[in-house]
């Protein structure tokens, strides 16, 4: 009873400190050391937070004004003939990866996503080598979300003690099966077949950006030497598609060289990270006997319990209810089938100025039954803004399945209010009514773009697997503004003079009465020019 009184008193003290109406039992406070100490603590906290000296506050005004100003710069820019030739060579040298004659590899992305259903447990020994050291460790996983990675003295535990499939879980789970790296991907370049650790394996070449989640896990506790454009030779167990070997080499190209120069990094072709799994055992429960889930984060407000939000009337076959509960005003329910998972979060208390669910800035309106939803960048989330409820559906199952689950919730999705961040989201058709639009063909491994129209400027965000992302911005114009980047390089794109600004990852050119800018931080210049050359009218 005393504890309950103290709890109520402290809540009232907190509200009263903020000028809110609250009944504080001052007699109790005077006689209770705990509550009077809390009262003093609140006042001390206020004086430290609210009245701290603004030491070190930077003056960003000059840089802001330079960024927003349209004043021409003193330096004139002229592409040199040599730079133009280099650009042509770069574009031509990039060989588009194709699944080619290897049917197994061409269908690999879909097979990786499907393989989730067949993995119940994995245990393996790990050896990880980078330029400074070799480390050994172990990996143990029990579906759907209990994983323990030990490398040297570092331990990563992901488990079912807190919010199910919380934000960082996919990072660790990609060590077992690189789903995030292959959802929606094009068929990668094939390296053929071989036997590794006594198991038949198939090899593919991808980029570090594509398998970022997998590489993040392998670099636990170590400094990263890996650049987004570095080629990765990835060998997967042929039957279960569990990674067996990963070799990352330093990419050639100005992007990587510029990044490495500041870090004393490797030369092109050098191995910068190598990992091998051995003694791999799949689907033997004895190897993960005693594997404990990670303890719940005490700071989390998640509590297991009955979900209160809308439930899907359709789920992929084999999916069964997993954990459910609430987190403040949000209802959470999850389903799983081995390694694959689907999560529905919903709230009736959303009063935000953007879509509920942290779905990112680049969203694409999609039809869901009689209403509309918003597919998030990467295709790994679908948000629905209903009349009385806001919902977000996430999972490891691919965008089409997520949309079907979202449609089956029985919530009619509305267009977001005009005041919300996503209000300038547009369909490709709406953008095309104002400006010429270019898009990437399906076989490039990028999802249909999320589009925004802000006045005369259209932005299209193309997301690929992992961290591969491109933004194409266009507006009316016939010439580029002078460059801000002193390292800008002249290249040729789509038969037009273009400019590559390495500091911003920005490829710019003028074409058809519009100025175009293709931006990325995870794709090298050679591939970027190749992709720009493949853009087609929508």
């Amino acid at each position: 009873m005393a504890d309950l009184l103290c709890e109520r008193t402290r809540a009232a003290l907190s509200a009263a400190a903020d000028g809110e109406p609250a009944e504080v039992d001052h007699e109790h406070v005077a006689g209770c050391p705990g509550c009077s100490s809390f009262d003093a603590g609140v006042r001390s906290l206020r004086s430290r937070l609210r009245f701290e000296v603004l030491d070190g506050a930077p003056d960003v005004a000059p840089r802001v004004l330079e960024a927003v100003s349209s004043q021409p710069l003193a330096r004139r820019w002229l592409p040199t003939a040599a730079a133009l030739v280099a650009g042509v060579v770069l574009g031509a040298a990039f060989v588009w990866p194709s699944g080619g004659d290897d049917v197994a590899v061409a269908s690999l992305p879909a097979r990786v996503v499907a393989a989730q259903h067949d993995v119940a447990s994995v245990s393996a020994q790990l050896t990880i080598t980078d330029p400074t050291e070799t480390r050994t460790g172990t990996l143990r996983y029990r579906a759907p979300e209990t994983l323990e990675l030990r490398v040297g003295k570092h331990v990563l535990s992901v488990g079912d003690g807190g919010e199910p499939f919380a934000g960082d879980a996919p990072v660790a789970l990609d060590l077992v099966l690189p789903v995030a790296g292959f959802t929606g991907a094009a068929g990668p370049a094939s390296l053929g077949s071989r036997t590794l650790d006594g198991r038949p394996a198939i090899g593919v070449r991808v980029t570090a950006a594509q398998v970022d989640a997998l590489l993040t896990g392998l670099q636990l506790g170590a400094e990263s030497e890996v650049h987004a454009t570095d080629p990765v030779d990835l060998w997967l167990d042929r039957d279960h598609l569990v990674p067996l070997s990963v070799i990352v080499r330093a990419a050639a190209g100005p992007d990587r060289a510029r990044w490495a120069a500041a870090r004393g990094g490797a030369d092109a072709g050098d191995v910068v990270l190598e990992a091998h799994l051995s003694d791999v055992v799949v689907n033997d429960a004895r190897t993960v006997d005693g594997l404990q889930p990670a303890p719940a984060d005490v700071r989390s407000s998640y509590r297991d319990g009955a979900p209160t939000g809308p439930a899907p009337s359709w789920l992929p076959s084999g999916m069964a209810p997993w954990r459910a509960g609430t987190m403040d005003d949000v209802s959470i329910a999850t389903w799983t089938d081995g390694r694959a998972w689907i999560k529905v979060r919903s709230t009736t208390a959303w009063a935000g100025t953007h879509l509920f669910g942290d779905v990112g800035r680049a969203v694409r309106p999609v039809r869901l039954g009689d209403g509309v939803g918003y597919a998030a960048e990467g295709g790994n989330a679908v948000a629905v803004h209903g009349d009385d409820v806001d919902v977000v559906v996430t999972g490891s199952v691919g965008p089409a399945v997520l949309r079907r689950v979202a449609t089956s919730l029985g919530v009619t999705g509305r267009r977001v209010p005009a005041t919300w961040d996503e209000a300038s989201t547009a369909t490709i058709g709406e953008v095309a009514a104002r400006l010429d639009v270019l898009v990437l063909p399906d076989d490039t491994g990028f999802a249909p773009p999320a589009a925004r129209l802000d006045g005369d400027t259209a932005s299209l965000v193309f997301t690929g697997p992992g961290e591969r992302l491109l933004t194409l911005v266009t507006r009316p114009g016939s010439a580029l503004t002078p460059p801000l980047d002193p390292d800008a390089v002249g290249v040729v794109v789509r038969g037009h003079d273009a400019r590559w600004s390495p500091a911003r990852g920005d490829l710019e050119w003028a074409e058809g009465g519009q100025v175009w800018s293709l931006r990325t931080t995870t794709i090298g210049l050679g591939e970027l020019v190749g992709l720009a050359n493949r853009l087609v009218a929508s």
């Binding site: 402290r10 603590g41 701290e52 603004l54 960003v60 990263s224």
Partner: protein
Amino acid sequence: MEDPDPAVVRAARNGDLAAFEHLVRTYQAPVWRFLRHLLGDAELAEDVTQETFVRVHRRLASYDGRSRFTTWLFQVARNAGIDALRSRSRRERLELAASPHVASPELRHELDAALAALDRDLREAILVVEVLGLSYVDGAALLGVPAGTLKSRVHRARERLVRWMQAGEATGG
């Protein structure tokens, strides 16, 4: 926090760079302070402060005056901060998850370390009420949550911060 003269905002919306500069110089310090506490990183806060005002300049045309300018400004700042957190490499987020109580070397003060250890929802709540001085209604509008949720988060954040501070004092830290 005081709102600017509406005439200055109007002038900035109409392309008056001097008026826009006045807004930047007036609010860059409180925006940086808010972001420094939100992100737990002074250098990152500086970059995001710059990004905030670039976004403000780009979106001024869509600011219709229905909310207070400072509320709108800090919404832009908060979203820019969340975008910066989201675009941090997964490696950094993973290492934060693996060792939640390791304080960053940039954190000079115990209170900064205590704030960084808070769950982001609680940290934002205490910052909008204590650092920005907003009411529960205005703070809730900024964060896009019900006022009751904000009130509860502020209280939970205070409980933890007060416990942390008092534990530090008891050990002479």
